[in-house]
Symmetry: C2
Subunit: 237 residues, 2 copies
């Protein structure tokens, strides 16, 4: 194959799977390739992390349904090490949210165990060359979830959780709050809205009561957490 000329040395691979037979099967399969060499197996996430720290492999093939620490968290942990090691998920499950979470925490590929072995090698090739490997079907599932996530991300924040106290604010109070969100003092707000500082204080006190907080910073934090977006631009031309 063409790719054999791309590398000077074999790519070091670690296989992570709590089922020993699975890991062995994968090991043999990968070792058949000239470009790759499985240097270790790990039966759980903690062992995997230790081995990865020690050997700093080029690639990791990881099952993500394991006891103790689940694979997703394991991937996240490994990413924190800031190695060049790239991780490919190898699992039996193709749920959209699993794919999403795996890619989110830094996986570079996602292959199903039901797929033919050529797919796995293709994944190794692609990922070792710095690309992402996500078969079309899985890619579609990822985006299903991703786009649903982005769409409901804001709505779910506002009306899903608890009551959004921001709704009780009047227009003027929202204007004041939006200025506080920019780091303004009461004096600043008064200047920008052409009202007196005492008026600002009145508004602010009303805001505090409505948002059930006791301080400016808390009000600002509440607004940020609830995804507050100023309705009217208050800037002076």
């Amino acid at each position: 194959m063409r790719r054999t000329i791309d590398f000077k040395r074999k790519q070091k691979v670690i296989v992570v799977d709590d089922k020993y037979e699975h890991a062995s099967g994968v090991r043999e399969l990968v070792n058949l390739e000239n470009d790759y060499e499985v240097i270790a197996n790990a039966g759980n996430a903690n062992v995997a992390i230790s081995l990865i720290k020690k050997y700093q492999p080029d690639l990791v093939l990881m099952d993500i349904n394991m006891p103790e620490m689940d694979g997703i968290n394991a991937i996240a942990e490994i990413q924190k090490l800031n190695l060049k090691t790239r991780i490919i998920v190898l699992t039996a499950y193709d749920d959209a949210d699993l794919i999403y979470r795996a890619m989110k925490v830094g996986a570079c590929g996602y292959v199903l165990k039901t797929m033919v072995s050529a797919q796995l090698i293709k994944a190794l090739d692609e990922v070792s060359m710095g690309r992402i490997y996500l078969p079309n079907v899985l890619c579609s599932k990822f985006f299903e979830y991703f786009q649903e996530f982005e769409r409901n991300g804001q709505k779910a924040m506002e009306d899903d959780n608890e009551e959004n106290l921001l709704h009780y604010l009047t227009n003027r109070e929202e204007e004041v709050l939006s200025l506080l969100l920019e780091g303004s003092t009461y004096k600043d707000v008064a200047r920008e809205l052409f009202i007196s500082e005492t008026t600002v204080k009145t508004h602010v006190n009303n805001i505090f009561q409505k948002l059930q907080v006791k301080e400016k910073t808390q009000a600002v934090l509440y607004a940020i957490n609830k995804g507050f977006k100023p309705k009217k631009k208050v800037g002076v031309a």
Copy 2:
């Protein structure tokens, strides 16, 4: 081709491109296929939205560098209509952030104008069958951006160049700041860290100087914008 048997009627397509020649070229190309029929062209985003509302096409081929409203916003607007219409981006630009933003707001495909026409038809086929079409190269770029985005906690993407003044904070100052981020007063901080309030004020003043701000709220806002993450949990068991 096999796909001709999948549909009873031709899929209605609208082409959006501010360059008339481009739109025409695409139109002819698409009309060569039995399965698709371009029913309208649009030269800008507003016209496009009107036409889409009126005709509710199956597919939209959209250029995303247009005057007035840009294509990304246009896609977002169209998504709000909640139609079955699926949108494919057709553009000359392959920047990672463009791909990311387009997919984020709901695009179902992304094709470069430099790609061969077969790619475009493939995209139409895939997307009309309910899948996502994103060529491998673009898919990799998307995930580059996506994973970077998730790692940095959504922050410091555009202004990554700017210095992050948070790095100058000492451990103790970070602890103080993290408590301020929870809405604590100085008295609260003093109580939680078992130090006097005057010490808290000293730390806070140092924080202000380092972050180049003048107030608690501004410091908190700066930290949030830079994606500040407390290193040590300060909570009392």
